[in-house]
């Protein structure tokens, strides 16, 4: 089998001005992941490296550049899985940590559980030596802040919600009836 590293940088109604950054970012992530695979021979290292690259890049909705909650905060999630051992690690409500994917991997490797969230995952991350960025809010970008403001305005007008499936009922393949996106979907 010829080794491969394949990445995605998110799906949705991506504005044209965001396209060049996305393309640059996914190509870089692929190269870094592939290089890591060559260096260590470990597929977990490869996928973690590729994702870490995109978590650092504000062009992507992960790590630095994550979209915001209604309260203007970043709450991140991640998961990692090895298909041969079937071991997995997952995390939610990760705050002020640059690389949630590395937290997920640590959950997989250092606990008997698959999934940690909330206060528990933050305490775990702290105990594992992950840097908790201080002051809070350092992962918030201007783009994410602007997207939330646009979302709030549209929400007031009743134009957005979480019921995209209902609003876009005529839409089978993301054509003109799809609702406008603010920032990015998950």
């Amino acid at each position: 089998i010829t080794p491969i590293v394949l990445v995605h940088g998110g799906a949705g109604d991506i504005p044209e001005e965001r396209v060049p950054g996305k393309i640059r970012g996914v190509k870089l992530a692929t190269k870094l992941g592939y290089k890591k695979l060559q260096e260590t021979g470990n597929v977990l290292d490869a996928v973690e490296e590729a994702v870490r690259s995109m978590e650092l890049d504000e062009n992507f909705n992960a790590g630095y550049g994550s979209v915001l909650t209604t309260e203007g905060n970043v709450e991140m999630e991640a998961s990692i899985m090895h298909g041969t051992t079937m071991k997995a690690g997952c995390c939610s409500f990760v705050k002020d940590i640059m690389h949630p994917i590395s937290v997920a991997r640590r959950v997989m490797e250092k606990t008997v559980h698959n999934y940690l969230a909330g206060d528990g995952v933050m305490e775990f991350a702290r105990n594992e030596g992950f840097e908790i960025l201080y002051p809070p809010g350092q992962l918030v970008t201007d783009f994410a802040r602007q997207a939330l403001e646009e979302w709030k305005e549209a929400h007031k007008r009743g134009e957005v919600g979480f019921a995209r499936t209902e609003i876009g009922a005529k839409n089978k393949y993301a054509n003109e009836t799809e609702t406008k996106q603010y920032g990015e979907v998950g």
């Binding site: 590293v5 190509k27 021979g41 597929v43 994702v51 998961s79 939330l148």
Partner: protein, 141 residues
Amino acid sequence: TVGAVAIDKDGNIAVATSTGGITGKLPGRIGDTPLLGSGTYADSRFAGVSTTGHGETIMKAVLAHDIVKRLEFTSDDVQTATEKACKAMTDHLIGTAGAIVIDKKGEVGIAFTSKKMSWAYQKGDKIAYGINQGDFTEETI
């Protein structure tokens, strides 16, 4: 959301997915990304999958697991299985999403029902990438 799938020369597959979620989500909302079978799934006997798109829809379709099971129980190749799973999800639940897949033979599947999905892969000294439906650009490193 961002994601990665890798396979080594021995057929070991791993998957990773990370996200900030969806703009304007309520505090405490969980999406598909950390849910095994929805945002991430790997089984080296069949394939590894990372998904992205409308999380509430992907969760209900259990999209990543659906793709792996299609490869287990049908004769579809990886691209066909990926396209069919994404299409079936959107046909039934309307919401849109995409998936990247590497199967046990090292073949790649890339499909999305959303307008765009940025993707790239490296195989040997070649990098392929795209973002719009039908895009495929290949470069030699």
